[in-house]
Amino acid sequence: MAENNNKSNYPKNLWSGLLFGIGLVAFIDEAVFHQLLHWHHFYDKSTTGIGLVSDGFFHAFSWFATVGSLFMLADLPRRGGWLPMRWFGGLLLGAGGFQLYDGTIQHKLMGLHQIRYDVNIVPYDMVWYITSVLMIIIGIALLARSKGKSSQVGVTTNHAPK
């Protein structure tokens, strides 16, 4: 029964981490690149209509995801079902996935804005892509490990409200 309870918390941990990862990247993007460094532009003349719509939806979604995922996180311990490794795996997967989407589809395909202006953009893009792919790989690895780990010792590690 205890193992069942742990399994039923898999998706909640994954989703909470995933959504928080998306929200975190979007927040860092806004705070660091838009506000502090002024590298990104609020609106770029090459922005397409679809880019504007995509950005609007992702912004609203990530804004909601940050708050919602933290409430989901607060909900997990009171049900005795927080699995930190699974949560962090979800976080990295969400963060990497969103950064990759932002860097490829939104920046390049929809021409939303570039990472930085009046510089050679290639190294910036490369750093952007490599960090996002790394986050996705580590995220997936953590998710896989958390599944293996908790099915081995699942009976002893759960349903103990701390």
Partner: protein, 269 residues
């Protein structure tokens, strides 16, 4: 009707502006008096009314009044930035504060049984159910803003006082409907699920953000480009701040509403 107001000399314009301001502010003063009277009545009947709610109501009324009467309202005719600041107060912050003051709960407990029953009957009626539904309320609220800023309506409003009164009333009422459709501080006979409300809210917020960026790049008719840019930025970031409060309250209501019971038989997602 006073079309082409701008051609008239300054003093006459100011006079007309003042009459619009007075007409618009009367309902808010009445709402303030009724609420305070009801709160006193409730206390006199030994049914306490939380004072933070009274503070919310007073602050909300003053936010709305700041947008429709006084220096900000006067400036908003010539300055799009001031106009946008006013709309943020009238259409977003004031409704949020007023909804949190739970006015319907207060009125229902103050009225005698017969009148309270009539009022709750009206609140349960189908027309109110329709316009207070998250989808319709979002459409009325954000759709109205799209209409205002992407058509010639904004320019018409600047020249026609009746249109101006109608637009301001719409912005406020649609803002109130919108807020009360997502966060429940009053008894709501037509509740919708948390996930459903969250999805609709995301769509509504996205459309609000997209419109702010659209205004930034494409000024409404008769608005200089630099004013449209600051106006768009205010709408985008100011909207984000108030949306954050709205989202937090919605999620907190979910968090409280889905508290696990000691003997949990059903799992709530």
């Amino acid at each position: 009707m006073h079309l082409n107001n701008h051609i008239h000399d300054g003093s006459e314009m100011e006079f007309h502006g003042l009459s619009v301001q007075l007409i618009l502010s009367v309902p808010f003063f009445i709402a303030l008096v009724i609420y305070l009277y009801a709160a006193i009545l409730s206390k006199r009947r030994k049914r306490s009314w939380r004072s933070y709610r009274i503070v919310m109501w007073i602050t909300g009324i003053f936010c709305a009044l700041a947008a429709i009467i006084g220096p900000l309202a006067t400036r908003s005719h010539s300055d799009f930035t001031a106009h946008m600041l006013g709309h943020l107060l009238l259409g977003m912050l004031a409704p949020l504060l007023l909804v949190l003051a739970s006015p319907m709960t207060l009125i229902l407990r103050t009225l005698d049984v017969k009148h309270a029953r009539t009022l709750s009957h009206i609140l349960k009626s189908n027309p109110l159910r329709l316009i207070n539904h998250p989808l319709t309320a979002s459409f009325l609220n954000v759709g109205g803003l799209w209409l205002l800023y992407t058509t010639s309506l904004y320019q018409t409003m600047e020249q026609n006082e009746l249109v101006q009164i109608a637009v301001h009333l719409h912005v406020f009422l649609a803002g109130y409907l919108f807020t009360s459709a997502f966060i429940y501080a009053d008894p709501n006979p037509h509740r919708t699920g948390y996930i459903y409300r969250s999805c609709v809210l995301i769509i509504a917020l996205a459309c609000h953000g997209i419109l702010s960026k659209y205004i930034y790049a494409h000024p409404p008719m008769g608005v200089p480009i630099d004013q449209a840019k600051t106006g768009g930025l205010i709408m985008y970031y100011g909207g984000d701040v108030i949306d954050l409060i709205l989202i937090t309250i919605l999620c907190y209501q979910w968090f409280k509403g889905t508290r696990p019971r000691m003997n949990e038989a059903i799992s709530i997602k």
